[in-house]
């Protein structure tokens, strides 16, 4: 059992390699070194060798398995491996190259990581979202590494005139043990480049028992040193000669536009050079900019001051009346009436009528803002029909497409350089800020940095939806749950793409609504309509947050009503170990994964509950005012269970002395980063439980910064978060890690609060509810 306790035990791994984060042109130069693998590789798609299938090839541009695209070996032996996904704190920029290094027997201390620019035809899909990177790329990266290794071995065998079967790559060299001869990778680079790329079908993959890096957690992020000395380069850190600094006043109401403005006072601010209107797109317009008035200055401080001096009259458009309290009432009303049926087993209506008692819970979760520490920012340099972008974007390929389309130039003329992301959480999947920079640069004929302020980030982002989840559970005389009706009402992310979208999309319904795993005879899930009045977008874990909050709170409510232990009740509801058959669900999303490889397996869900109960000391006695809560949820095809211990004092102030989380994410690459993701998910979960709420009045967001949209700080953070990783059964496909930690935290904490105080919280955030 691979049990990790806390970071103190993770000491002593100060290994890192220097990283180059360079533009496309330098990548070409770097990889074109004499002796490196040749470039201009034909694109090969990934054939089936994998024991399991993923949805990777259904993603735009699929996967590319070719060592010549991802690996270069210099004569001095330095192996450069391309990271084609974006680094926003998950460690993916380290993990994916590490997989290649593992399979090719490269010595990690002689590996450099190079960030790919946006080019999906070349690198395959680059959307770093949906907790997909390891899940989709573990096998392709292994194949790339194995290919490179085979080419190196082939070159050495030729040089020695021995059969390739007699040589073996070991730790950065190829060895012929019969004769004791050995050659370093660097000396073989030129010959290896001449070898043909082996067919993927015939590749020999390493036996996992020989892994040196995979699954070990002993390698630090490649960016670690740069981060601690301040040289790690984020979007805002890009500086170009002659670059202008811009901030933009955007319409405060979604769908609004500038009616008139006066920039005279702004122009008087020291350092301000220009005030100009910028183009916006009518709502909804996917990720296109909102438009507004830009202030251009010699530094960001002057631009912000100039913007403060603007006078703008806005035309608010159709959403000028959006008001959160009234909207909540609308959602509640909708949740109390029938809606579009999206899952149906048995006869829920009859079963509820015939039930001995019915427990009803209505759970509300407001809009949330991502507030990544780095607000959106982008640098663009547009010259004629060419554009170069430097930006912290989750989707380099998508950014390239959108910038090209907006500027009306071919994609080949757009270079997107991906910097580090100072947090993403889904916000940076939308590249509006990069498009803004491109438009301004084109207009000004100079490189431009567009910096969003924190207030811009909070007020003009793509918010997490707002939702009412209403669950009715019918119980028979013995306390067994015989009926379950769940209505979920929330404006859909689809509304950001298409006007008038009122139903949630399959990918939203599939996040904890229609895939609800309880073993109940009569189940019905419904989705009444809800219209959007602001930009809705992905927020880490997305619809799983309100769904897990509702479903797992209800499980504990039933436990209380039937006087049973929360954990026992949860296991009873999950029921027998089985693979769910969801025949009534028309469009089961399953996170884009084939159901054969990634079925909903209640045995795995049960197992994380049992593991966390065991390791987390479920049922231990806790001091007065303390309580334990438990919750479990499958999301992003991983299984997670969390126990939270809470302490609530007589003034209603809550603290969290301990969190325990068990995760089953299948075959994994870097347990140390899994642990950090789960620790972070607890903080994000606690933020949304305690504080997170964006409200609207007159169509405008009422919050603006960390004072009125607070997030958890260190003095209120859990004293300790323990993480237990389920060792994978052989051949278990990898599953998501970045997001799944968030959903179970809120209900676990809410259930703990109930255990401590007897107060059942159904509206988040808690705010003052415990003070009364």
């Amino acid at each position: 059992m691979n049990i990790i306790t806390n970071p103190k035990t993770l000491r002593g791994f100060e290994r890192y390699v220097k990283v180059d984060n360079v533009s496309r042109r330098s990548i070409l130069k770097g990889l074109g070194l004499a002796g490196g693998f040749v470039l201009a590789a034909p694109v090969m798609s990934r054939p089936a060798l994998a024991a399991y299938k993923t949805g990777a090839d259904k993603m735009p541009h699929g996967t590319v398995v070719d060592p010549r695209v991802f690996v270069a070996i210099a004569p001095d032996g330095i192996v450069t491996i391309v990271a084609h996904r974006a680094e926003m704190g998950t460690g993916v920029r380290t993990s994916l190259p590490m997989i290649v290094a593992e399979e090719m027997e490269a010595d990690w201390s002689r590996v450099k990581v190079q960030q790919a620019h946006g080019d999906e035809a070349k690198f395959g899909n680059q959307d770093t979202d949906g907790s997909r990177s390891t899940r989709h790329y573990l096998m392709p990266m292994r194949q790339i590494g194995a290919s490179a290794r085979t080419m190196l071995e082939g070159a050495a065998a030729k040089r020695w005139g021995v059969p390739a079967t007699e040589v073996k790559a070991v730790n950065h060299e190829v060895v012929h043990s019969a004769s004791g001869r050995r050659i370093g990778f660097g000396d073989l680079a030129a010959d290896a480049a001449k070898e043909s790329v082996p067919s993927v079908e015939g590749l020999r993959l390493k036996d996992p028992k020989d892994f040196r890096y995979l699954g070990k957690g002993q390698i630090s992020m490649v960016d670690l040193r740069d981060i601690t000395v301040g040289t790690a380069r984020y979007g805002a850190d890009v500086r170009l000669p002659g670059m202008k600094y811009a901030v933009i006043a955007r319409p405060p109401v979604t769908g609004g536009k500038v009616a008139s403005f006066d920039g005279a006072a702004a122009m008087k601010v020291s350092g301000v050079e220009k005030v100009m209107e910028v183009k916006g797109w009518p709502w909804p317009s996917k990720f296109q900019p909102l438009g507004g008035v830009a202030v251009i200055a010699r530094n960001t401080g002057a631009a912000i001051k100039g913007r403060d001096a603007l006078t703008i009259v806005w035309d608010d458009g159709p959403n000028g009346k959006y008001e959160s309290a009234a909207y909540r009432a609308e959602l509640e009303e909708a949740a109390r009436k029938p809606g579009l049926v999206v899952r149906k087993e048995g006869d829920v209506e009859a079963a509820l009528k015939g039930a001995d008692r019915v427990i009803v819970g209505e759970y509300y979760l407001p809009h949330l803002a991502h507030v990544a520490m780095e607000p959106p920012v982008a640098v663009a340099d547009v010259k004629g029909d060419k554009a170069e972008i430097w930006a912290p974007v989750q989707s380099a390929g998508g950014t390239r497409e959108d910038v090209a389309k907006t500027l009306g130039i071919p994609q080949e003329n757009v270079t997107v350089n991906v910097t580090l992301l100072g947090g993403g959480f889904g916000r940076k999947s939308k590249c509006d800020y990069a498009i803004e920079a491109a438009l301004l640069s084109k207009e000004l004929g100079a490189p431009v940095k567009v910096q969003w302020t924190r207030e811009d980030d909070v007020r003009n982002g793509f918010l997490h939806t707002v939702s009412v989840e209403r669950i009715e559970a019918g119980l028979d005389k013995s306390g067994k749950v015989t009926a379950w009706r769940h209505r979920s009402v929330a404006p859909s992310i689809a509304s950001t793409f298409a006007a008038g979208a009122k139903h949630q999309a399959p990918f939203e319904l599939g996040m904890g609504l229609v895939d609800m795993p309880f073993e109940i005879a009569n189940v019905q899930c419904e989705n009444p309509e809800a219209a959007a009045h602001t930009r809705i977008g992905w927020f880490r874990a997305v619809s799983n947050i309100p769904r897990a909050f509702a479903v797992q709170s209800m499980a504990a409510e039933i436990a209380h009503a039937t006087k049973r232990d929360q954990k026992d009740m949860l296991l009873e509801l999950i029921g027998s170990p089985r693979i769910l058959k969801l025949d009534s669900v028309k469009d089961l999303w399953n996170y884009g994964e084939p159901y054969e490889s990634y079925p909903i397996d209640t045995a795995r869900l049960r197992k994380v509950v049992e593991l966390v109960a065991d390791k987390g000391g479920w049922g231990r006695s806790v001091p007065k005012g303390h309580g334990l809560g438990i919750a479990a949820h499958r999301s992003f095809v991983s299984y997670i269970a969390t126990i939270v211990e809470v302490a609530v004092d007589d003034k209603g102030k809550l603290t969290v002395p301990r969190v325990d989380t068990a995760i089953d994410c299948g075959t994994y690459v870097n347990p140390e980063r899994i642990q950090s993701q789960i620790e972070g998910a607890a903080i994000m979960g606690m933020s949304l439980v305690k504080h997170g709420e964006i409200t609207f009045k007159d169509g405008k967001v009422q919050q603006g910064n960390y004072d009125d949209f607070p997030v958890i700080r260190i003095d209120e953070s859990p004293a300790v978060t323990n993480v237990y990783i389920v060792p994978p059964a052989p051949d278990t496909p990898p599953s998501g890690v970045g997001e799944p930690g968030v959903p179970p935290f809120a209900p676990a904490l809410i259930n703990a609060i109930f255990a401590a105080t007897g107060k059942r919280i159904r509206t988040l955030p808690i705010g003052k509810q415990l003070e009364a």
Binding site: N6, P7, K8, L10, R11, G12, F13, E14, Y16, M88, G89, S220, M221, D223, L224, R225, I227, T228, V229, G230, T231, A232, Y234, A236, R239, Y245, S270, G271, R298, N299, T300, G301, A302, I304, K305, V371, A372, M373, E374, P375, L420, G422, G423, G424, R454, E672, S676, E679, G680, I683, M684, N705, Y706, D707, I712, R713, I714, D715, S717, V720
Partner: protein, 150 residues
């Protein structure tokens, strides 16, 4: 003309004397290690050390620091091996890393003032620095490690 002492070097500024130290450092002096997170002394991303104290550069104007020694992450240690920086690496503290410069500067200032802080003192002193990724458990342990060597 305003003359500033930053990381032991003299820097001149003849623009707006009210410009915040943050934007002066980042945009005018090219010292981009110091980060912007909120602009209102709410998050600590912009923390620098002025003389011996942690200061939020976003609400400090360039004229406020005339005659004082400003230390940014670039000047914290010549080889980047301050005890806090080493502890941060040893415990793999960062996730995205964006807040970490501010965290490190705040921790370094704390240890000047209180070389052996308790866990409660660490939590109190670091409470002005937000980490949205949620690295707090490791931050707390790393400050402790930097101060005690264990």
């Amino acid at each position: 003309m305003i003359k500033l002492q930053i990381n032991g070097q003299e820097r001149n500024w003849d623009g707006d004397p009210d410009l915040s130290l943050l934007w002066f450092l980042r945009d005018e002096a090219g010292l981009t290690g110091t980060k912007y997170g909120c602009g209102q002394a709410l998050c600590g991303a912009c923390t620098v050390i002025v003389d011996k104290q942690a200061v939020r550069a976003c609400i400090t104007s360039v004229s406020d620091v005339v005659g004082r020694q400003v230390t940014t992450i670039e000047g914290l240690h010549p080889t980047g091996d301050h005890a806090v920086q080493k502890a941060w690496r040893q415990l793999n503290v960062p996730q995205c890393g964006y807040c970490q410069v501010g965290q490190i500067m705040q921790a370094a200032a704390l240890l000047i003032e209180n070389p052996k802080p308790t866990h409660d003192q660490i939590r109190e002193a670091m409470a002005g620095n937000i980490c949205r990724c949620g690295c707090y458990q490791r931050i707390e342990n790393a400050v402790h490690l930097a101060s005690t060597g264990v």
